[in-house]
């Protein structure tokens, strides 16, 4: 079975982002970037499927400018076999990303596509569902357990109020939740080896997908700042403040 994993390069999750003063977006110059944490989980799951003999090949793909090659190399260092860089604009809408991935599925014919449930920059939580729609395949979103058996995928999904298990026919699209696994670190020898693994470059334009945005970001602003509060000295003081000042008890 071939597994395709889509990964995204984002601002590192531990960076405190700064909104640009002209309202055009957030500052990304000289800011630490890394693989989206949910994508790391997707890569890890694909590699585990390979290690357990379920998958033969793990192909990673990322869309953006040349900088995404670094992210792809780190996925190769973790154990992916081959990478595809779709060269195109860095910020594309989820629907466009989904269309490119759907076209790539046509070409690569994977039995399983793994994606993170959301990117921590745009927080959309859309791409996996859209790819599934465009390719008429089933979706296992917010997955915390994945079992491939008898030509089907059994997914346990994190839903409000608990867990839900579904059986999906293959090919299937699965988006990962935090609890699916604990991603590994790349070892130095593997990082060196990754440099020699194949990385193909395809042009986004070659997919016959309209890359034009349909949503215009009019303005990006900082959220309202909370007034800094006070430190109380004792439990009695706290109860008194909550009861008489904040009126919430």
């Amino acid at each position: 079975m071939k597994v395709l994993v889509a990964i995204k390069r984002v601002i590192d999750p531990y960076v405190k982002v700064r909104v640009k003063s002209d309202g055009s977006g957030v500052e990304t110059n000289n800011v630490k970037m890394s693989m989206n944490p949910f994508c790391e989980i997707a890569v890890e799951e694909a590699i585990r499927l390979k290690e357990s003999g379920v998958a033969e090949e793990v192909v990673v793909v990322s869309i953006g400018d040349n900088s995404v090659q670094e992210t792809l190399r780190s996925a190769l260092a973790l154990g992916a076999d081959r990478a595809i860089h779709v060269n195109g604009p860095t910020t594309l809408e989820p629907l466009v990303v989904a269309k490119v991935l759907a076209a790539l599925m046509e070409k690569e014919q994977p039995q399983l596509v793994l994606l993170g449930k959301q990117a921590i920059d745009s927080d959309n939580n859309q791409v996996a569902q859209m790819v599934a729609a465009l390719t008429d395949t089933p979706q296992g979103t917010f997955t915390s357990q994945l079992v491939i058996e008898d030509g089907t995928a059994q997914v346990t999904r994190e839903i409000d109020g608990g867990l839900e298990t579904l059986e999906l026919s293959l090919p299937a699209i699965v988006s990962t939740d935090l609890r699916l696994n604990e991603p590994r670190y790349a070892s130095l020898p593997n990082i060196m080896k990754a440099k020699r693994k194949p990385l193909d470059i395809l042009e986004a334009e070659s997919f016959n997908v309209d890359l034009q945005p349909r949503q215009q970001v009019v303005e990006v602003t900082a959220p309202p700042k909370r007034e800094s509060g006070e430190i109380v000295s004792s439990v009695d003081d706290l109860i008194d403040k909550l009861r008489n000042k904040a009126n919430v008890l």
Binding site: I11, V17, V19, V26, F38, E93, P94, L95, Q118, I120, D121, S122, D123, N125, Q126, A128, Q129, A132, A133, D136, T137, P138, Q139, F142, S144, Q154, R157, E158, I159, D160, G161, G162, E164, T165, L166, E167, R179, R214, Q215, Q216, V217, V218, E219, V220, T221, A222, P223, R226, E227, G229, E230, I231, V232, V235, D236, L238, L242, A246, V248, L249
Partner: protein, 313 residues
């Protein structure tokens, strides 16, 4: 196209989710022609309940065993069939809405606006990005505006407004050979629902163990509140996953949020910083949580918590 709004109801075939009522209230910011779609099995009660809700002008009911578990592969084709008559299609930004709506949007060949917190006009909304550290005002040029609504940002309309909307039967069926429902593991709790609670008490890594987490539960019970947790507490197995508050868990905005032994990572704050009053109890005076807390108590939670529980009526 006239502004005609379709709201997809979330329910468990018995009860309408609170998130649905909040989505209705968001829909009312767009226009007054609001149709609600109820898909499910044996869900007439749900449809009848929604017919009484404020802002609802019509209820469509698609009752069929195929919709029993609201699988995206079953529901999306039906929504697609109805969509051409609507300018706006809304669902709550719950795991239900997040799962279904992007599939609908892609089938319609339109984008989606996720987790909308404010409706500016019929084509412009505000939504948080970067874990709520920035707010984007987004204008869409799509014919059908598809959006999920963050329920903590909208009030609940009246559940019984005195008028009853018309309920229309839809004899629709779909063919879903792609996915099959197997089972559900529900986490049962007597406490109020996390996203709807007036008071939320959350625990973090600082509690040290599952046994100690009982202090959080005790305090929540005294205050009639819900319990929440940081990712660290969930990962350590103190509580179940669905109680995680944060960027990737639940977003809450209660009147009172009490964070116990939670340092206040960016990802956690994303889920609670719109709470009206925030209290932090932590032994580390430099914990980032104190920067957003209205009242902070620096101290050993193993001393503070029993005292607090004891002194509350």
């Amino acid at each position: 196209m006239d502004t005609r709004i379709l709201v997809i109801a979330e329910h468990d075939n018995e009860k309408v989710s609170l998130d649905t009522y909040k989505t209705l209230s968001a829909a009312s910011c767009l226009g007054d022609d609001v149709t609600v779609l109820v898909m499910g099995a044996a869900c007439h009660n749900v449809a009848d309940t929604l017919a009484k809700a404020q802002y609802v002008s019509k209820v469509l009911i698609a009752e069929n065993e195929q919709f029993a578990h609201l699988l995206a592969e079953s529901c999306a084709p039906l929504v697609l069939r109805l969509a051409k008559d609507f300018s706006h299609i809304l669902a709550p930004a719950s795991t239900f809405g997040k799962n279904l709506l992007p599939r609908v949007a892609a089938l319609l060949d339109v984008g989606q606006l996720s987790d909308v917190i404010q409706i500016v006009s019929t084509d412009t909304v505000i939504r948080p990005i970067y874990a709520g550290n920035a707010l984007a005002k987004v204008k869409t040029s799509d014919v059908h505006k598809v959006m999920t609504i963050r329920s903590s940002a909208f009030d609940c309309g009246e559940t019984d407004c005195g008028e009853v909307a018309e309920v229309i039967e839809m004899n629709e069926s779909v063919n879903n050979a792609l996915s099959k429902y197997i089972s559900t593991q529900k986490n049962k709790s007597e406490r109020p629902e996390l996203s709807a609670a007036r008071v939320v008490v959350s625990g973090g890594r600082g509690l040290g163990s599952k046994e100690n987490f009982a202090m959080v539960e005790k305090l929540a019970d005294k205050l009639g509140g819900a319990i929440g947790a940081s990712r660290a507490a969930v990962d350590a197995g103190f509580v179940s996953n669905d109680l995680q508050v944060g960027q990737t868990g639940k977003i809450v905005a209660p009147e009172l949020y009490i964070a116990v032994g939670i340092s206040g990572a960016i990802q956690h704050m994303a889920g609670m910083k719109d709470s009206k009053v925030i209290v932090a109890i932590n032994s580390d005076p430099d914990a980032p949580i104190f920067q957003v807390a209205d009242y902070g108590l620096v101290g050993d939670l193993f001393e503070v918590m029993p005292e607090l529980i004891d002194k509350l009526p």
